[in-house]
Symmetry: C2
Subunit: 197 residues, 2 copies
DNA sequence: CGTCATGGTAAGCAAGCGCTCATGTCCAGA
DNA sequence: TCTGGACATGAGCGCTTGCTTACCATGACG
């Protein structure tokens, strides 16, 4: 399945993207120099501009690929569940798992949008609206079946996503908990947040 | 009540801190120049260095004051409630309210810690550990009374705080919901996350 | 062999950065 | 009136930044 507006990165490009994701995740877009990225990738400072026109384009490519992956995770997880309760559980579990495992990329995805150009930002915002929509639809389905009881599906959808998004801020794989531990816990929390008694 | 290690800012200092908080909140520490801060405060570029030795010291002062305020909010809210359920509700409500109302400062407080010097970072980390401790103790009190049922108080405390912290990322006062709306909703969500059935 | 596309580099430019310094203004107290 | 200290500023220094340019190594293909 071809993605529109973006070809698959070559090995050299992927190496730059990986290095940049690490740097952006640690120090942020503005805190990272093009020389930092080159050093992380063990290449010369000029090589970035052989493959990408600007530093911002590198950020955009990381952000775009990350958002496409995150949206796919949400859709696949929701489709796997039978009842809305199961759908929400899968969705919360997999979304948390991705944020815990890929917390470096997740930080770039969630916290560096402000450094994108207006055009790139709008393209990413479209993907984010779809992520919210997938979550909201699961909640609304649960309201129809009566499994869920909640006042504000839009706000609650944001809250469910917030739980996992914030993992990018504090979760580290060197800590006490493994990504799987957190994901299991967050599945329960999400269901509790919305379940009818 | 005197605070240790920091005197009250003069009016001129407060003006610089307010301007810097707006800039740091919008573009991040590294994305903000000292000239941006001066322009926002309607002062000359050099005035920053009359009152603070470095740009990082301005960030630290904003961060320190913000963390002291947030910790005070958590402690006051928890003390106000009678039962652990009421304590958690007050805590989640007030914490969310502060993050929604002061979302610009909240972004600096939660997302710019990495730009602090190691010494300053450690001082802030102490305050953050206290914030987690206050929350965890409320959860543990609810476990004792049997009002709450949950497997991992430490992780759940982080999750409760995460909900509000992430408001700084997406909440804007220009949107559909008022800070009070979100705070009321988040009070309910926090209680649902931990309540025994 | 010569040609050329691919993918890399060393050196450096113009602009912007954090920060400094000599100087000026204001006002309380002698 | 004179003096000293607090506060503020215009000009600019030394360095780093994103990015450019001219050039080079390699290997597929006629």
């Amino acid at each position: 399945m071809e993605r529109q507006g973006a070809s698959e990165p070559t090995p050299a490009q992927q190496r730059i993207l990986d290095a940049a994701a690490v740097c952006f995740g640690e120090r942020g877009f503005h805190g990272t120099t093009t020389r930092d990225i080159a050093k992380q990738a063990q290449l010369s400072p000029a090589v970035l501009y052989v493959h990408y026109p600007t530093k911002e384009d590198v950020l955009f490519e990381i952000s775009r690929a990350g958002h496409v992956a995150a949206l796919e995770i949400l859709r696949t997880a929701a489709a796997r569940g039978g009842t809305p309760t199961e759908q929400l559980g899968e969705l919360a579990h997999d979304f948390a798992l991705w944020h815990a495992r890929s917390h470096a990329v997740a930080r770039v995805v969630n916290y560096e949008l402000g450094s994108l150009t207006p055009q790139h930002h709008e393209e990413i915002a479209t993907l984010r609206r779809q992520m919210e929509q997938v979550t909201r639809e699961v909640l609304e389905a649960g309201l129809v079946t009566g499994e869920f009881a909640l006042a504000n599906p839009s706000l609650t959808a944001l809250a469910v996503l917030s739980l996992s998004v914030d993992l990018g801020r504090w979760f580290r794989t060197t800590g006490t908990w493994q990504p799987e531990d957190v994901a299991k816990h967050y599945r329960e929390l999400a269901i509790r947040m919305v379940a009818a008694r």
